[in-house]
């Protein structure tokens, strides 16, 4: 494939749709990911995507729109996970583990009893570039506007709540509100992103960019900006590679993220070795 063929790709509407949705979802996921990774909640995305898988199976079985079925179920589950882990009776990781495996089992049972593991199931487990329609584009534009506004308006609050929960509480800041806000936004991001990335892989968009960026930044602001940049770049490269090699989209993007993490680690080490401070 040469350059003009690659450029040609962008003239296909389905690819443009996938790229628009993907860039916006990657951006949102990476910002949320910073907060979730720093608060040791990064697996919530994974738990929610398994719940998403169950909702998609159910939606297919009863024949309703996948988005319509998955959105409320995933949002409600995100609140339950938040609530259960805040009550301190069960740890967050345990709550996520219970919900994700439970939901996966339910999804598999529904699938097995109805249509069996056909190509549709394959595509929503591993991601497909073909799955984005115009509704998804509109929804992801709305979602990213909401998330970006939340991050701009509440940036300082999110900083203090993430950096030091008990200090925030002692200052009278409603920490719970922000925790629920983040899990609500994560739920919507997961729902929007999971058909393209695949329910098995969507959580990578949340985890990788923040972890990669964290290796080389000093400040919280730097972390936010760099995660967003890394996330979007990895997405674009990943989706092109996956199209060219004809592999599932999600897997291609995760592979690019892994490579970028390794490169950034090496850059960090080299920089340390020669003593440059950035």
């Amino acid at each position: 494939m040469n350059f003009s063929e690659l450029a040609n790709l962008f003239s296909y509407p389905f690819i443009m749709r996938a790229i628009i949705v993907g860039v916006l979802v990657s951006l949102c996921a990476s910002l949320l990911g910073v907060i979730l990774v720093l608060n040791r909640y990064s697996l919530i995305g994974h738990g929610l995507s398994d719940v998403g898988f169950a909702s998609l199976s159910l939606a297919m079985a009863v024949g309703v729109s996948p988005l319509l079925m998955a959105t409320p179920i995933v949002i409600i589950t995100s609140f339950i996970i938040m609530y259960v882990s805040q009550s301190k009776k069960i740890n967050g990781d345990v709550a996520i583990g219970i919900f994700s495996t439970g939901a996966l089992a339910v999804g598999i049972i529904i699938t097995a009893l109805t249509k069996g593991f056909n190509t549709d199931v394959y595509s929503y487990m591993f991601g497909s570039i073909l799955s984005m329609n115009i509704t998804d584009v509109a929804l992801s534009v709305v979602l990213s506007v909401v998330i970006l506004s939340v991050f701009i308006i509440f940036y300082n609050r999110l900083f203090v709540v993430t950096a030091d929960e008990s200090f925030a509480k002692a200052s009278g800041i409603n920490v719970k509100f922000y925790q629920f806000l983040i899990s609500f936004l994560t739920a919507i991001t997961v729902v929007l992103g999971m058909r393209m990335m695949g329910t098995l892989l969507i959580s990578s968009l949340i985890i990788f960019p923040a972890v990669t960026a964290k290796k080389i930044v000093r400040s919280f602001k730097g972390l936010m900006i760099l995660s967003a940049v890394i996330s979007v770049i990895c997405f674009v490269i990943g989706i092109l590679i996956s199209f060219v090699l004809n592999i599932p989209t999600g897997a291609g993007i995760v592979a690019v993220n892994i490579v970028s993490m390794i490169i950034v680690s090496m850059v960090g080490q080299v920089r340390e070795a020669i003593g440059i401070k950035v």
Binding site: L38, S219, G222
Partner: protein, 232 residues
Amino acid sequence: MNLIEIKNLDVLYKTGYRGISALKNVNANIKSGEYVCIIGNNGTGKSSLIKSILGLVSVSSGNIKLKCNKNEISYIPQFNTIPLDFPATVHELVLSGTQKSNMGLPFYTKEDKASTEKAVRETGLKGLEKRRFCELSGGQQQRVLLARALCKKPRILILDEPCSGLDEKTTADFYELLLHLNTQHGTTIIMISHDLINVEKYATRIIKLDKAILFDGSVSEWIKKRNDGEPI
């Protein structure tokens, strides 16, 4: 004027198999402008008392009335509660101390930045603002927490063993700074400390705890009791 009224306070921690009583029937009023030191051995409920004032642990029975806004209280915890791998600069952390729960949109004002600058200078952190918090020494981190607490210009400053980990010079400066805040700005200070020499030198009131209050009175009463050899 009373700023904090504590009545018949009990604090009970529920652990898996049994409850641990940390405070039993504690009564005290903290007045505006006081410099109170809370002393007592480890595990006698000192941290629990101030955490219940701050609403960080739940009160099992009795009650605590705050006669001021929660925004007017600053707190320095005994243990750093910022995760040690958290990527944040000294400046970001100190500035975050100016946040108040009742402000409309949470943006920093010029004033916030000025008071951050002042707190950084007062705590001797000048020149370290751009450094990453987690690469500082323990004592420097402690000063960051102090600066973060000061930049709000609090009416009440609550400190939990703030001097553990500070060197001699920083400790002396620190006590001078607290005295200055207390006498010049009328800041009410509540401090947990094991440093009895400085407690007797600077505080106006001493509370000794062992689950319940063993002693509560002025420093001169405390010294008199001590000189009389009375067990407290």
